[in-house]
């Protein structure tokens, strides 16, 4: 599964992309986020304020309860500020 980080999440974690295979018990977005937050101190810091983070599963917005299913790409990012 490909994990993408954007903007300050990318900066805090130190890279834009990770390829991971989460353990079998990680079946929801919320569990995946917990799993990622535990990967390093940098991850923990990046995920400290989860309310400031949006999540897209295969490029669609999801919240913690969403099932991972056969997702190939999960992206973490702050709210958009383009335009």
């Amino acid at each position: 599964m490909k994990i993408l980080y954007f903007a300050w999440l990318r900066e805090r974690i130190g890279h834009a992309e990770e390829d991971i295979t989460p353990p079998a018990e990680v079946t929801t977005i919320g569990a995946l986020t917990d799993y990622l937050a535990a990967r390093s101190p940098a991850h923990a810091k990046a995920f400290a304020d989860r309310r400031a983070i949006k999540i897209a599963l295969d490029q669609r917005f999801v919240t913690d309860g969403a099932a991972l299913g056969t997702a190939r790409e999960v992206a973490y990012f702050p709210p958009f500020t383009g335009g």
């Binding site: 954007f6 903007a7 490029q59 990012f77 958009f80 383009g82």
Partner: protein, 155 residues
């Protein structure tokens, strides 16, 4: 058919608007430009990051929504990415129609939704050094949400 472009390069506003004139009576547009300061701090540059793949889909979706909600002949969204110095154009949103109300409203809609619904992030790089990611504004969310209540506004 809406034209969607995400690019590091500058764009030609005159040429883009001329393209929309075909078969239309009214062309409205919005151009965003990097300002030289932010909250009183001088800017060296604005750096635009995006989510490749998702960006074009999001922009095309916003354009399609505009085409459905207003009687448009065409529309265009161009958004630049990368490092942009003050004075650089960032974004163009424009819509054409037979009559002015549709073109003007759809253009305001395009830029309002673009700000909140397309995966771009802005980082301000300050002249004195240091940088900060721009935070999403409540006002932008309100501007977006006004389009959801009761269809179009008066025009």
């Amino acid at each position: 058919m809406p034209r969607i472009l995400v690019t590091t390069e500058d764009f030609d506003v005159g040429a883009e608007l001329a393209r929309l004139e075909s078969g239309a009576g009214a062309i409205a547009s919005f151009v965003g430009v990097v300002r030289g300061e932010s909250d009183g701090r001088e800017l060296a540059a604005l750096t635009l990051e995006h989510y490749p793949g998702m960006t074009e889909t999001a922009l095309a979706g916003i354009a399609e929504t505009a085409m459905t909600r207003w009687r448009l002949t065409d529309c265009v969204i161009i958004h630049r990415i990368g490092r942009l110095v003050p004075g650089s154009r960032i974004v163009l949103a424009a819509a054409s129609s037979a009559h002015r109300g549709d073109a003007l409203e759809a253009t305001a809609f395009l830029i309002d939704w673009l700000k909140t619904d397309a995966p771009f992030w802005k980082r301000e790089d300050f002249a004195e050094g240091g940088s900060a990611w721009v935070e999403a504004r409540t006002d932008d969310q309100k501007a977006r949400d006004r389009w959801q209540i009761g269809g179009t506004t008066a025009a």
